[in-house]
C-alpha cells in the first residue's frame, strides 16, 4: 500500500482531501508487466449520483474498482473516498464483486454469505449474533430473497447469486457503493430487483459506481457516466457527457456498438475515426501478462 508515511503524518484521523467528493482519484496507474491496465486516471464523483463506468472489453473497468479499493497493486496514484484515505474510509465503502469471483459450491447458506458483509465491522473474536442475523434478513428482504435465506448457495441461479452479493453489500450500510457488473447475465426478475435497490440507495443519498456493460440502458438508468479505455476519456453528467463523440473516442469508432446508445443526429456526422487512440495503440500486440 502506497502512502503509508503520509497517512501516519496525518495523525490518527488521517489527512482530509476533497471532502466534498464521494470519490476522488488522482493519477491512478496500474500496469501488468509493461502493459498499462489503467493510465493516469483522474476521477471525481460527486456524492449522491449513480455513476456508470463504461468502456470496451479490457478497458480496465474492473481493475479501476479493484485499484480504488486497494485490491490490486497500483503503480501510482491516490484515492480518497469521502475526503479520506482508503484505510480510514473502509467502513463507508460497500463492494459487490463479479459473482464469478467465488466458488458457489462452497458449503454455506445464503444468510451466512449476507452476514459476511458485517465481518469487517464486527471486529476480532466477535461472532455474528441475533442482531447481525436480523440485519442480514432485512437485506435479503430488500433484494427479494427472503425465502432463500436457508438455501445452500450452490442451488441459486445467476441472478439470485448476484442479489445475494448485493444483500451482503447492503448490510455494510455504506456511503459509497462499488458494483462490478451487477446486471451481467442475470434474469429479468433479478435485474429489476437489483435496479430497484440501486435506485433506492441513490434516493437515500448514497453514491454508486457501477461497472456497466449495456450501453443501451446508460441513459435511462444512470445520472453520471465515466467513459474508460485505459484512460478516462470523459466523465460527467450523462446528459452532457454521454455523447456519440465521447463514445467514439472510447470505443475507437466502432459504430455498431454505438447504434441506439447515443444521440442519432450526432451519429450521422460523418465516418468514424479509424485511427486508434495513440496513447495505447503502441501496446497492442504486446504479449499478455
Amino acid at each position: 500500500m502506497s502512502g503509508g508515511a503520509a497517512e501516519r503524518a496525518g495523525g490518527p484521523g488521517g489527512p482530509v482531501h476533497e471532502p466534498d467528493l464521494a470519490v476522488h482519484v488522482e493519477d491512478l496507474t496500474v500496469t501488468y508487466g509493461s502493459r498499462p491496465a489503467l493510465w493516469d486516471v483522474d476521477l471525481d464523483v460527486p456524492p449522491g449520483v449513480m455513476a456508470a463506468i463504461v468502456g470496451p472489453n479490457g478497458a480496465g473497468k474492473s481493475t479501476l474498482l479493484e485499484a480504488i479499493l486497494g485490491l490490486t497493486p497500483t503503480t501510482a496514484g491516490h484515492v480518497y473516498v469521502g475526503g479520506r484515505r482508503l484505510r480510514e474510509a473502509r467502513g463507508r465503502i460497500g463492494y459487490v464483486p463479479q459473482r464469478t469471483a467465488v466458488d458457489w459450491d462452497f458449503p454455506t447458506r445464503v444468510l451466512d454469505v449476507v452476514t459476511m458483509g458485517l465481518y469487517g465491522r464486527l471486529g476480532w473474536l466477535r461472532r455474528p449474533g441475533a442482531k447481525e442475523r436480523r440485519l442480514a434478513e432485512t437485506a435479503l428482504e430488500r433484494v427479494g430473497m427472503a425465502d432463500y435465506r436457508d438455501r445452500q448457495i450452490a442451488q441459486l441461479s445467476g441472478g439470485q447469486q448476484q442479489r445475494t452479493f448485493l444483500a451482503r453489500a447492503l448490510v455494510q450500510d455504506a456511503d459509497v457503493y462499488f458494483l462490478d457488473e451487477p446486471m451481467a447475465g442475470v434474469d429479468a426478475t433479478s435485474e429489476a430487483a437489483i435496479l430497484d435497490v440501486l435506485r433506492d440507495l441513490r434516493a437515500e443519498g448514497r453514491t454508486l459506481l457501477v461497472v456497466h456493460h449495456d450501453l443501451q440502458t446508460v441513459r435511462t438508468t444512470f445520472d453520471w457516466v465515466v467513459l474508460l479505455n485505459v484512460r478516462v476519456l470523459a466523465q460527467g453528467p450523462v446528459e452532457t457527457t454521454y455523447t456519440a463523440d465521447n463514445l467514439r473516442a472510447t470505443y475507437g469508432g466502432d459504430v455498431a456498438l454505438l447504434s441506439g446508445a447515443a444521440d442519432p443526429t450526432a451519429n450521422a456526422d460523418g465516418a468514424p475515426d479509424p485511427t486508434p487512440d495513440p496513447a495505447y495503440a503502441p501496446h497492442e500486440g504486446t504479449r499478455d501478462a
Partner: protein, 380 residues
C-alpha cells in the same frame, strides 16, 4: 489380544489417544486446506518437514520430540513461504511451485537424514521412522506435546473462525472489508503446518497429506455448512485414528499410519458413493428416475395424441403406433404404466396383437405432468 486387554494396555492407549488427536486437528484444518484448493500444500508441508526434523536432532543432540517438531514446523513454514514467493514473483502456477518446493525440501531432508545416520552414536535415533511414521514409538510425554500443539491449533481456528471462513470463501471481498488477508493466509497455512507436524510421528511424511484431504472430502459430501463440515471431518479423522491404531495394536506388526489412512479412505469412498445429495449412487438414481419419468410422460402423451387424432376418447392404439409416435420401443414402459393402472391392454378383434388404451388415472398423471417439470407421480 482381545479388546479389553488392548484398552488396558498403556502403550495402546497412548497411541489411540494420539491418533484421535491427530484426526481431529487434521480434519478441521484439512477442511480449510481443501476448500482453499490447497490440498497439495499439506503434502508439500509434510515432505518439507523432513530437513527440519534432522536439523532439530542435530541441534538438540538427541531424539527430543519438542526439538524435532520445532525444526519440522520451521522448515515446513519455510517451504510454504517459498511456494508463496514463487507464485507471486515468478510466472509459476501453484501446482508447479508446490511440486518444486516439495521435492527440493524432501531431497535436502533425505541427505540430512543419511548424514545424521552416518554419525557415530546416532544410529539409534531412528529418524527414518518419520518417513512412514512409527506409532509405537510415541511416549506419554510426547502425547502432552501433541495435545499442547493441538490445543493451540484448535483454539486459533475457533478464535479466527469468521475471518478464516471469509478468507476461504471470498478473499477479495475480505480485503475490501479491510481484513488483513495476507496475515490470515499465513496464519492458516502455519496452522496446517502444525497439523502436519502433529502427524509426522504417527503417520509419517509420505502419507500425511491423506490425513488432511480425506476427512474434509468425506465430510463435505454430507453437509452444506462450513462448521458442520469441519466437525464431521474431525469426527472422521478421529474415528479413523482410533480404528487404525486399534487394529494395528491387535495385529502386531501392521503399520499404524497406513492403517489409519486405509480407514480414512474407506470413510471417504463410502461418502463419495452414498452421501444423500452429492453421492454418486443417489445422483445416478435420481437421474434414472428423471429419465423414467420422461419416458412415462412421452408414452402417455403419445396415447393421448393418438386418441385425439381418432376423435375417440376410448381409442386403443396398436403397440407399433405408440412406438412410431414416441420414436422408440415402448413395450416395457407400457407394461409399467399398466401395473400402475395408468393404461390398459385390450384385445381389439379381429386384429392380431394387443392394443393400449389411456385410462383416467393416466390422463390425470399427464395433466399433473403438464403443470410442472416433475415426472408423473408414483415412480421414484
Amino acid at each position: 489380544m482381545d479388546l479389553a486387554t488392548l484398552a488396558g494396555d498403556y502403550t495402546v492407549r497412548t497411541v489411540v489417544a494420539g491418533a484421535a488427536l491427530l484426526g481431529i486437528v487434521s480434519g478441521v484444518l484439512g477442511t480449510f486446506a481443501v476448500l482453499r484448493r490447497q490440498s497439495l500444500l499439506g503434502d508439500a508441508l509434510a515432505h518439507a518437514a523432513l530437513p527440519g526434523i534432522a536439523l532439530g536432532f542435530l541441534v538438540a543432540g538427541q531424539r527430543a520430540l519438542p526439538a524435532l517438531l520445532a525444526g519440522a514446523l520451521a522448515s515446513a513454514v519455510a517451504a510454504a513461504l517459498l511456494v508463496a514467493l514463487l507464485v507471486r514473483r515468478t510466472r509459476l502456477k501453484g501446482d508447479a511451485a508446490i511440486g518444486l518446493a516439495l521435492s527440493l525440501f524432501f531431497a535436502v531432508g533425505v541427505i540430512l537424514l543419511s548424514f545424521v545416520q552416518g554419525r557415530a552414536g546416532a544410529g539409534q535415533a531412528g529418524l527414518e521412522t518419520f518417513l512412514f511414521g512409527q506409532a509405537a514409538a510415541i511416549l506419554r510425554s510426547d502425547l502432552w506435546v501433541m495435545a499442547a500443539l493441538a490445543g493451540v491449533a484448535l483454539a486459533s481456528v475457533a478464535a479466527l473462525w469468521k475471518e478464516f471462513e471469509l478468507v476461504t470463501f471470498d478473499p477479495t471481498y475480505a480485503a475490501a472489508l479491510g481484513l488483513p488477508v495476507a496475515v490470515l493466509d499465513v496464519t492458516l497455512t502455519a496452522l496446517v503446518a502444525v497439523a502436519v507436524v502433529l502427524g509426522l510421528q504417527l503417520v509419517g511424511v509420505v502419507l500425511m497429506s491423506a490425513m488432511l484431504i480425506a476427512p474434509a472430502v468425506a465430510a463435505r459430501q454430507w453437509t452444506h455448512r462450513l462448521g458442520r463440515v469441519a466437525i464431521l471431518a474431525a469426527l472422521f479423522g478421529a474415528a479413523s485414528g482410533v480404528l487404525g491404531a486399534t487394529v494395528s495394536a491387535g495385529a502386531r506388526g501392521l503399520a499404524t499410519g497406513p492403517l489409519i489412512v486405509l480407514a480414512l479412505s474407506a470413510f471417504t469412498a463410502l461418502s463419495l458413493v452414498f452421501a444423500p445429495t452429492r453421492g454418486l449412487l443417489p445422483t445416478a438414481l435420481r437421474r434414472r428416475a428423471d429419465r423414467a419419468g420422461h419416458r412415462d410422460r412421452d408414452v402417455l402423451r403419445a396415447l393421448d395424441t393418438l386418441r385425439r387424432r381418432h376423435d375417440d376418447p376410448t381409442y386403443a392404439a396398436e403397440r407399433g403406433m405408440v412406438d412410431a409416435t414416441v420414436g422408440h420401443p415402448t413395450g416395457r414402459t407400457l407394461r409399467t404404466l399398466e401395473r400402475r393402472g395408468l393404461v390398459e391392454r385390450v384385445r381389439h378383434r379381429p386384429e392380431e396383437g394387443r392394443h393400449w388404451r389411456l385410462l383416467e388415472a393416466g390422463e390425470a398423471a399427464l395433466e399433473r405432468g403438464r403443470d410442472g417439470p416433475d415426472a408423473p407421480e408414483g415412480r421414484a
